[in-house]
């Protein structure tokens, strides 16, 4: 110990001189970047709390005075509970329905033997890169032919059907579960449905969380497909409603921004509670972009 103290003591001053500068630099860069990232949200919230007569003030006053909380009830009434429920319904059915078919499909690809298994799986893989704009027009034609235009099923089913990515994700995850567990259950008299439901699903919580987070996020935020398929006011999800407001409510910017804040609130709360799951889910879903 005594032998090493001397050189360490000699080295310390230079370290002590250098380290704070690096740390200060890192903080400065991070704070500058963070300002750029949150500024739009601060603007949104600031605007949503302004009285009508301060909305177009120049230069903008960032801290509204007085703060008008009443903009939020007004915004909630404009948005309507129905639009909120439409978004919740759409997201929930897509996540649960697609979750069911993709875990089942992934199980079949990972654990069941049937003719053409690898060829069919390659077909799924090959279509994962296809952007939605490519299938959007024919999908609309199909939905119109089915008489599903401007209906919940027209909105939900085609999106629920986009299970190639989920099927791939679950197939990969199920492959990591030792086959012997299933074999042992088979010897004990379990059929594939038991193995799927009682062994594979309970073991795949990480994959399900990842899948759930990214599917819910993309469904909640989806705009293009609802825009194409929905016309009735009663069927619109939140994205469609606020996009419409954005072109109509130019004179009531404060209410518009309160509407946007409310539309973001549910997913922001979920994000704050389960940030880790969002990050993990997104990392796992790299391929989906």
């Amino acid at each position: 110990m005594a032998a090493t103290t001397a050189p360490a003591a000699l080295a310390r001053p230079s370290v002590a001189r250098r380290v704070p500068w690096a740390t200060i630099g890192i903080y400065a860069a991070l704070i500058f970047g963070a300002f750029f990232m949150v500024m739009p949200f601060l603007y949104m919230i600031s605007m949503s709390l302004k009285p009508q007569n301060q909305v177009f003030l120049y230069p903008p006053r960032w801290i509204p005075n007085p703060i008008v909380w009443a903009n939020y009830p007004t915004a909630a009434v404009r948005l309507t509970l129905l639009a909120f429920l439409n978004s919740v319904l759409f997201t929930a059915i897509v996540v649960i329905g697609q979750g069911l078919i993709t875990t089942m499909g992934g199980f079949a690809f990972a654990r069941l033997k049937f003719p053409g298994r690898n060829v069919i799986f390659l077909g799924y893989l090959g279509t994962m890169m296809i952007p939605f704009v490519v299938t959007m027009i024919p999908t609309f034609v199909i939905v119109a032919r089915l008489g599903w235009q401007d209906t919940y099923q027209g909105l939900i089913v085609p999106i629920m059907a986009h299970g190639a990515f989920g099927t791939f994700l679950f197939r990969q995850f199920f492959m990591t579960i030792p086959e012997e567990i299933g074999d042992a259950a088979t010897v004990d008299g379990a059929n594939p449905l038991d193995i799927y439901w009682r062994i594979y699903l309970p073991l795949s919580k990480p994959a399900m969380t990842a899948y759930g987070v990214i599917t819910a996020l993309s469904a909640w935020n989806m705009y293009l497909w609802p825009l194409i398929v929905i016309q009735s006011k009663e069927l619109r999800p939140l994205t469609l409603v606020i996009a419409q407001f954005a072109s109509q409510m130019n004179a009531e910017l404060h209410i518009l921004m309160a509407c946007v804040t409310l539309s973001l609130l549910p997913i922001f709360i979920l994000y704050l509670i389960g940030q880790r799951f969002f990050v993990e889910g997104v990392t796992m879903s790299g391929i989906k972009g």
């Binding site: 089942m104 890169m129 939605f132």
Partner: protein, 318 residues
């Protein structure tokens, strides 16, 4: 469930002297497995065929017709494709806009997240807070982001004009100026893309062997040299992955933003391919022409992927 009738799989071992029975049982087992596969994969496969594979082929077919949905389709051969390349006066501008938008947003969308991920990974205090802040745009819908930025760019009371005013630049009408509209949209696209790419880089950085940095430090490398000779080579595979998916996301994902902020204007100055496909199909009802453009975009996406994969083989240090 314990019925042996349903479980012939365990039987052959018990009766090895009767191979014929075993073979029948085996065949029955395969047949039953096939039925189970149908049960598990059936709904998935049905929806996949109906809403992915069939639309793919159907859309390709539609691209050879002139079709307004109301009137019956008319076969035009390659007419829609040749119209896009040689006939449509809008094409040069749309292609140029798409290139400017994608290539303009790409460098910052890749390099800023790399830098920020390195900073977030440096182990300083408060990292959790900064991550929380940086990832917020990730959970923000394209529509919400577009509405907010539309007003940030507003001429009269927009904060951007307040900011540039500090530098003595007069107020601009960002979204209604043919020159400024694409840079404004690019800035929003970068803002929206940063969190996802930070997450990819953070995952990559956490996979870099710590001992490499120690070795570099012992050799006297400063922070920048450590980045240059350790971090950068080690994350090159991620950089190429991020380049590929960001390019594709910018090419096909610009719709929400453009529809809400500019509607392709002013005078087509922000009309990119993906927006024009939607407008051609659902405003002008030219389904055939829109389908042809969708397939052209698809080929562009494939080409970008291919080029970057080839470059990846040459540049990546594993």
């Amino acid at each position: 469930m314990s019925s042996t009738l349903l479980q012939p799989t365990s039987q052959p071992a018990v009766s090895p002297s009767r191979p014929a029975v075993a073979r029948t049982a085996g065949r029955r087992r395969i047949r039953r497995e096939w039925l189970w596969a149908l049960f598990f994969l059936g709904p998935n496969l049905f929806l996949f065929l109906s809403f992915t594979l069939f639309p793919m082929l159907f859309g390709f077919g539609v691209s050879f017709f002139r079709w307004t949905i109301i009137e019956p389709p008319v076969f035009v051969g390659l007419g829609n494709y040749s119209h896009f390349f040689f006939g449509d006066p809008q094409t040069p501008q749309i292609v140029r806009n798409s290139l400017v938008y994608t290539l303009g947003a790409l460098p910052a969308s890749v390099l800023l997240p790399l830098g920020l991920a390195v900073l977030l990974n440096s182990g300083i205090r408060g990292t959790g807070f900064f991550r929380g802040v940086y990832f917020l745009p990730l959970v923000t819908s394209g529509v919400a982001a577009a509405i907010i930025f539309k007003w940030i760019y507003a001429k009269q009371a927009g904060p951007l004009n307040q900011l540039v005013g500090v530098f003595g630049i007069p107020r601009q009408d960002w979204l209604f100026d043919e020159v400024l509209v694409l840079p404004a949209l690019i800035l929003t696209a970068i803002w929206h893309r940063i969190p996802l790419n930070i997450i990819f880089y953070l995952a990559a950085l956490q996979g870099v062997d710590r001992t490499l940095y120690e070795a570099a430090r012992i050799d006297g490398a400063n922070r920048w040299q450590q980045f240059q000779y350790v971090t950068w080579p080690m994350v090159t595979p991620t950089t190429f992955f991020v380049l590929i998916i960001t390019t594709i996301a910018l090419l096909v994902g610009a719709f929400d933003q453009i529809r809400v902020m500019t509607d392709g204007g002013p005078l087509n100055a922000s009309n990119v391919l993906v927006f024009n496909i939607w407008r051609t199909a659902f405003v002008n009802f030219q389904m055939g022409y829109a389908s042809a453009m969708a397939y052209i975009l698809f080929l562009v996406v494939l080409a970008f992927t291919a080029v970057q994969w080839i470059m990846q083989k040459r540049w990546v240090h594993y």
